[in-house]
């Protein structure tokens, strides 16, 4: 049960955005900028951005964000959708690019303690072709999910348990992107 009175029947961040649209608006705009638009020189796809978000949410043990962003990533990866679960199980054994592995390592350090993002980790990502925009966006996606995860869990919002609910969310996120919910 949520710690404060929230609109009933809405899960996770959606209940919070309807409760407080003034903060919901910038939070959704930030998600759209980071998970869809990206920095001008970034090479990351939307599927990869969603995967970084799901990976960080898994490290923070926030089931709602992990399941919904994993579902969005699966939808966007299409016939390569199995990669998502491979990465969530162990990024180093997944069939993804060395560049994405290096960026996931940076995301992992941002989640645990951002002061440990070393010059070596950044150089390793650059050696695999990561641009300034890729590094910036990876750090801010990881940092922002350290916010979204704490926001959703810190107010004890509703977390659906039915996988089908997340599949529908993932398709909506994959097609419409992030638009602030305005009604129940």
């Amino acid at each position: 049960m949520p710690h404060i009175t929230l609109p009933e029947g809405l899960p996770g961040i959606r209940s919070l955005a309807v409760y407080r649209p003034e903060t919901g608006q910038p939070l959704y705009e930030l998600a759209q900028a980071l998970l869809r638009s990206g920095s001008p020189d970034s090479t990351l796809t939307s599927a990869e951005r969603e995967l970084i978000a799901a990976f960080v949410s898994k490290q923070n043990c926030t089931a709602f964000c992990m399941n919904s962003h994993a579902a969005a990533s699966r939808y966007l990866y299409g016939d390569q959708r199995d990669l998502v679960d491979d990465v969530l199980a162990d990024p180093n054994n997944a069939s993804i690019s060395m560049k994405l592995k290096a960026l996931l390592a940076i995301a992992d350090h941002v989640q645990a303690d951002a002061r440990t993002v070393s010059n070596e980790l950044v150089a390793a990502a650059r050696a695999e072709g990561a641009t300034d925009g890729d590094i910036h966006d990876t750090v801010l996606i990881a940092a922002s999910f350290c916010m979204y995860n704490r926001y959703v869990d810190g107010l004890a919002t509703l977390t659906p348990t039915d996988p089908a609910a997340y599949e529908a969310m993932g398709e909506r996120m994959g097609t419409l992107g992030y638009q602030v919910p305005t009604t129940k």
């Binding site: 009175t5 407080r20 900028a33 951002a114 801010l140 940092a143």
Partner: protein, 187 residues
């Protein structure tokens, strides 16, 4: 922030609502100074030099804490600081958020309500604390430079108190801007 204007806009909008605009809502029980103290305390727990210094300077500006001693006492031990019992209870919620959202227990929320915290106070405390777990990581994860002169933070705090958070205005006072490039980083 200057590198990425498309993310700077929502980031600035978020802090302006949380640290400034929501103060004026009828159901708000938190002043601007108290909101800045929450941001400062969480940044201190995350050991982020830049964020705890600039938000500490803004908190001190609002609270008339000229020598920064009140802010220092909150960072050292909020339980012993000269702040209200309600703010102490909300800082305990913020400290839990800094660890993990799941560390916010019904007991912590009940303690804050017993001191008069509203739903909005609890919501804003959780989101301020969560947001600074993002800002701190953004600043430290990219190893950004931070000025080390207290007067620069005092100047910036007075500008923020007057005009709010924006990424395009100059950080330094006009007389200092010529030497801005030589200000040493501390992170």
């Amino acid at each position: 922030m200057a590198f990425s204007p498309q993310t700077a806009d929502p980031l600035n909008a978020l802090v302006n609502v949380l640290l400034r605009d929501n103060t004026h809502r009828p159901d708000s029980g938190l002043t601007e100074g108290e909101r800045e103290l929450i941001a400062t305390y969480v940044s201190s727990l995350n050991d982020c030099f830049f964020c705890q210094t600039i938000h500490g300077a803004v908190a001190s500006y609002h609270l008339g804490d000229e020598d920064w001693s009140l802010v220092q006492s909150v960072k050292c031990n909020p339980e012993q600081a000269a702040i209200s019992p309600k703010l102490k209870a909300l800082l305990a919620v913020a400290a839990a958020v800094q660890q993990s959202g799941k560390a916010v227990t019904p007991d912590l929320i009940a303690a804050a309500r017993a001191e008069g915290a509203t739903d909005l106070d609890i919501h804003d405390t959780v989101l301020i604390a969560a947001a600074f777990c993002m800002f701190n990581r953004y600043v430290d994860g990219l190893a950004t430079e931070a000025p080390n002169k207290p007067d620069l933070y005092r100047y910036r705090a007075s500008r923020i108190a007057a005009d709010g958070y924006a990424s395009q205005d100059a950080y330094m006072p006009p007389a200092e801007s010529a030497s801005a490039a030589s200000v040493a980083g501390t992170n």
